[in-house]
């Protein structure tokens, strides 16, 4: 049933500046790319991608940006939150050699997919992009999976100087991949989509309310519900969505440019 289940936070881990991971007991099956609705009682309920998937324990990783994430950031081990889900379609994980491009907290969404493809004997290159060095996270965790990690920072404080997309475009010229999976700022993902012809999947983020396909708040293009038809969309679908990378809608349903 689509109603929050109350659970205690098992662990809180600092990942980088303003970024934390919270884990909790959640024995249900969750696939890479799916998301939960996380209820912070008295504050808000927000969508959040799964960032770690173990048998009984699942995790989310987030940056302190608004009221809800700031409240979540303050919570400690044993504090109670409500969880419903998992929601959404998840990534299609096919191909022998996959390029992952994560911008900002987007890498949190990609991490479970990286682990999955490695387990299935595929190889992967992961680009982790951030504004600056102290906002990078998951580098060690992904290295342990045995994939190639490439770092980009906007200010050049670590790795390639520039955006994750710039770096991805360089790599795509030099190396052949079977597909590109990305999560990050939508403008960045659109540039990446426009610059490649290989199979492409992107994880989209929209303001959500019901998460079960009723309210219409997260709809894009011709009635595609990010909560149910997404949050992962393939390149072909995204090329037909005029709003992709251009605008989102605020909680009143007004168009807001990225």
């Amino acid at each position: 049933m689509n109603i929050p289940k109350i659970t205690k936070i098992l662990e809180v881990k600092n990942e980088a500046k303003d970024i934390k991971t919270i884990t909790f007991n959640y024995p249900e099956r969750v696939d890479p790319g799916q998301f939960f609705m996380i209820w912070i009682p008295g504050v808000d309920e927000i969508p959040m991608s799964v960032s770690s998937i173990d048998k009984d324990v699942k995790g989310i990783t987030f940056r302190k940006v608004g009221d809800a994430t700031s409240a979540l950031y303050k919570l400690k081990k044993e504090d109670r939150i409500g969880i419903r889900g998992p929601y959404g379609n998840g990534f299609e994980l096919q191909g022998n050699h996959i390029l992952f491009v994560g911008g900002g907290t987007g890498v949190a969404t990609l991490a479970p997919a990286v682990k999955y493809v490695v387990k299935n004997k595929s190889s992967a290159t992961v680009i982790i992009g951030a504004k600056t060095k102290n906002e990078l996270f998951f580098e060690d965790r992904l290295k342990k999976c045995g994939v190639t990690i490439l770092i980009s920072t906007d200010d050049g404080s670590k790795g390639f100087k520039g955006s994750a997309t710039d770096l991805a475009q360089d790599i795509l010229k030099k190396e052949n991949f079977d597909s590109v999976l990305t999560c990050g700022p939508e403008v960045m993902m659109k540039i990446l989509l426009d610059s490649t012809t290989i199979p492409f999947q992107a994880s989209l983020e929209r303001y959500m309310k019901c998460a079960i396909g009723l309210c219409g708040q997260c709809c894009i293009g011709e009635g595609l519900r990010v909560c149910i038809d997404g949050p992962i969309f393939d390149g072909k679908t995204l090329k037909n969505i005029q709003d992709f990378g251009i605008f989102r809608r605020d909680s009143a349903g007004r168009k807001v440019r990225f």
Binding site: I6, P41, G253
Partner: protein, 305 residues
């Protein structure tokens, strides 16, 4: 075998290819979503309720599933009438009627909203006088027969298109309120809006919805809706649109027998996916063929003994 039954219907002067309409509040805040629902077979679309100013609605949780229905308190989120025009204009070529739902605090606001909707080109207006969870709006206006009559007649003299009035079951006198709408020259009554309800989480010892109180819809409220439509039909001569817990063709038929000329679907989209409109159309046709009914109007109100 092709169905013999003709499922077209008329809501007063407004003809519908089929009696399944999208209820206000579901996938109807932007043109793209409404286009998708039209492709799923809806006979008409009712838009999200639109007010004069943009409104963000309540913080989440705004919607949860309960055992026998859906509980929500969205809080009337909408982009405001001026920005919403762009969405309606994109649907101009649609052959499926678009009905503009509006909410206001008084007659003056309803008039302005109604006139703007008419200018955008909608086929009819639905007055939301029944939202159970918004301060100053909806039910807070719509519990009073006198106010209903004033608002309805004020909108009526200022627009040419049909005016529907959507009523709440959260009153003790729904037929009196329906009569007030009729005396204000309403073209159609829509019944019912959701039923006031609450869900408390036992672990946290607090209501789950941020607004605490919400509106209950889905399977659980169908008997309430059928009763309301039946009572209203005994007291008014204008057409009625039935809404509340319709998940199947037989549910739709039941509302028709109570007196509804058409029906609206909301929570059903969750229970039977977006193509519930096609599914219910087919089920209505099959039921009519099996019971030798040739047209919808032969079913409307037959349960009134």
């Amino acid at each position: 075998m092709l169905p013999l039954a003709d499922i077209s219907t008329n809501i007063g002067s407004l003809p519908l290819k089929n009696p399944t309409m999208l209820a206000s509040g579901i996938m109807d805040e932007d043109a793209g979503s409404m286009k998708r629902i039209i492709k799923c077979g809806a006979g008409a679309i009712v838009t999200k309720s639109i007010g004069l100013q943009p409104r963000e609605g309540y913080p989440n949780p705004t919607l949860i599933e309960l055992e026998y229905g859906i509980l929500n308190a969205m809080g009337l989120p909408n982009p405001g009438i001026d920005e919403f025009g762009e969405e309606i204009l994109q649907l101009k070529k649609s052959k499926t009627p678009i009905i503009g739902s509006i909410y206001g605090a008084n007659a003056k606001e309803f008039i302005e909203l109604g006139q703007k909707m008419e200018d955008y080109g909608v086929s009819a207006i639905e007055l939301n006088l029944s939202c159970p969870h918004a301060k100053k709006y909806g039910l807070e206006v719509g519990y009073d027969p006198k106010l209903i009559q004033i608002i309805t007649s004020s909108v009526k003299v200022n627009v040419k298109i049909p005016v529907f009035v959507k009523l709440s079951p959260n009153v003790t006198n729904i037929s009196e309120i329906a009569k007030a709408a009729e005396s204000g020259n309403a073209d159609t009554i829509v019944a019912i809006n959701s039923v006031k309800a609450m869900k408390i989480d036992l672990d946290l010892k607090r209501p789950i919805l941020s607004n605490k109180i919400g509106g209950y819809s889905g399977r659980a409220i169908k008997p309430i809706g059928v009763r309301c439509v039946y009572e209203i039909a005994e007291h008014v001569d204008i057409p009625i649109i039935g809404v509340g817990g319709i998940l199947s063709g037989e549910d739709a038929i039941e509302y028709m027998m109570a007196g509804a000329s058409a029906i609206q679907i909301g929570a059903g989209v969750y229970y039977r996916e977006l193509d519930i409109f096609k599914k219910i159309k087919k089920e209505i046709e099959q039921w009519m063929d099996k019971h030798s009914y040739k047209k919808i109007s032969d079913i409307v109100g037959v349960a009134h003994l």
